[in-house]
């Protein structure tokens, strides 16, 4: 799975029974019967492609598991590998007993069943979700793309526009914020500006076609495209329309950004433009000099990715990468650049520019302004170092 190296070596160490001119053994006997997996799973040979969990977590109720970005292609994250971050474990919710309450500055406080929610007009969009602590600003930085920015995934979401649901209740004058609450053991609570709620916020119940996974908020979650992932409250049970934010623990103690002078930025919602090369990337190895495609993902909370530039000479020069169509708003965008590796040490990196003209900064530029006590919203360029033997490692580590 995902290795760039070693298959010729592997094959050579195997016996050659299955290699030409021999007929491989799996053609000489029937395979597994149809329906042996009523809900399919990956090949046993992909068993290493799982969520990436730090080895040294103090506890697992409030923790995160990362998408193995370096093993994935395209822009869709399969649901089984979607990143996880939660604060009180993953609740097991019976959808028939789940309710969404909508109250506060509305004409008609309402309670909805899941079937009610599904009766509203629906919409589907491919959006990324990213945790804002992805990663923080302090060394040691991770080894792989997943270690660095694996709190990032992308899926096709289906649900109802929050605006439509708000209209059903009728917003009252003075409605400026909506406080969203999850039905988990953390009763996760975040305040969202009303502008976002009326722009592109969704109440999502499906993810890549099927119903949300428990780890992603089954049976209902808020989805705020381009905002830090924590705000897209999972297991959504309550929306309170208010004049002011609630100043919850998650928007004061956490998810605020400490500057070197001790001042703190609050309500820092947007995930700014970012990109990373996933192939070749840390932990992989180029098997041979010669042609290797450089491929990665780019995204911006502010809208579409406009361009991605790639440097293969440690930032001295940059070439524009090709973007895979369709380039979608607030979705991952796959970029690619053909490359001939001459077998010499090299440093490669990517740099995204979004529709607003914003250009992804270097880590040094971020640190110069923000210092390394700043914890969230690190959208630095992550260069990879390629050694003469083809091994790829984090050039910033």
């Amino acid at each position: 799975a995902g290795g760039l190296a070693g298959s010729e070596a592997l094959a050579a160490s195997d016996n050659a029974d299955n290699l030409p001119p021999n007929v491989p053994e799996w053609m000489k006997a029937p395979g597994d019967p149809m329906g042996s997996q009523l809900y399919g799973t990956p090949s046993p040979f992909e068993k290493g492609v799982i969520k990436n969990i730090p080895d040294n977590l103090p506890q697992y109720l409030s923790a995160s598991g990362r998408t193995p970005l370096q093993d994935l292609d395209g822009i869709i994250t399969p649901n089984g590998l979607f990143y996880e971050r939660h604060h009180g474990g993953v609740p097991t919710i019976d959808p028939a007993q789940h309710r969404l309450m909508l109250h506060g500055l509305v004409d008609r406080p309402l309670i909805f069943t899941m079937d009610d929610i599904r009766r509203f007009p629906s919409e589907s969009h491919i959006y990324f979700l990213e945790c804002s602590g992805n990663p923080n600003y302090k060394k040691p930085y991770g080894k792989t793309a997943s270690d660095l920015v694996g709190l990032l995934s992308c899926a096709e979401w289906t649900g109802v526009s929050l605006k439509v649901v708000l209209q059903e209740a009728g917003l009252q004058p003075g409605a400026k914020w909506i406080v969203a609450e999850g039905a988990d053991a953390a009763a996760m609570t975040r305040s969202i500006p009303i502008e976002k709620c009326l722009e592109d916020a969704m109440l999502a119940y499906s993810q890549n076609g099927e119903r949300l996974r428990p780890q992603q908020g089954y049976p209902l979650r808020l989805l705020l495209p381009g905002f830090e992932g924590n705000m897209s409250v999972k297991w959504l049970r309550r929306l309170r329309v208010a004049a002011e934010p609630t100043y919850s623990r998650e928007e004061t103690s956490k998810y605020t950004d400490l500057m070197p002078n001790g001042s703190v930025r609050e309500f820092t919602f947007y995930m700014e433009a970012k990109s990373i090369i996933t192939r070749p990337s840390g932990g992989q190895r180029l098997s041979t000099p010669g042609f290797h495609e450089i491929s990665g993902i780019a995204w911006s909370g502010h809208g579409k990715v406009k361009r991605v530039d790639v440097s293969v000479d440690d930032g001295k020069s940059w070439q524009e990468a090709q973007l895979q169509e369709p380039v979608l708003t607030r979705a991952l965008t796959r970029f690619r650049l053909p490359w001939q590796w001459d077998g010499k040490p090299a440093v490669i990196q990517s740099r995204a520019t979004d529709v607003t003209g914003y250009v992804q900064p270097t880590l040094a530029e971020l640190l110069a302004v923000r210092g390394d006590n700043y914890y969230y919203h690190n959208n630095a360029i992550w260069p990879w170092r390629i050694a003469a033997n083809g091994e790829v490692s984090n050039a910033s580590a």
Binding site: Q59, H103, I111, V179, A186, Y247, E272
Partner: protein
Amino acid sequence: QEQGPYGIGRSATPAEIAGWNIDIGGDGENLPPGSGSVSHGRMVFDQQCAACHGAKGEGGVGDKLVGGQGTLATTNPVKTVGSYWPYASTLFDYIRRAMPQNAPQSLSNEDVYAVSAYILNMNGLLPADATLHAKRLSRINMPNRNTFVGDPRPDVP
């Protein structure tokens, strides 16, 4: 109160809203009646919190809850309720909804007031003989209240 455009959902009653709405505003809005003393809070803390947060709130599996004032602009900032949190009301809100982590929403409002009082006391923000209630909690002046600013990004490049 006519129907909404789609006629979907049913009215939420005041009792239902009251049962579910546990949000406390920064100014203490929606704090429930009741009160709790620092000394009762110490008992609650020792029994239900210290295992994760340390006997003196110094941290463990759970966050450090005490200390750190004056460190935020240093190379080793220590962020706690006392040093970092802008609103004391958030303490009541968060403990009630999420703590103790093994049994959230199990404390009475009185115990939440009490244990909040004790944490504030350990941070030097409430005297040892104090009793906390809605009005008093709303008035507590958190040291870091005025360092919070809005989002000036893009700040780089």
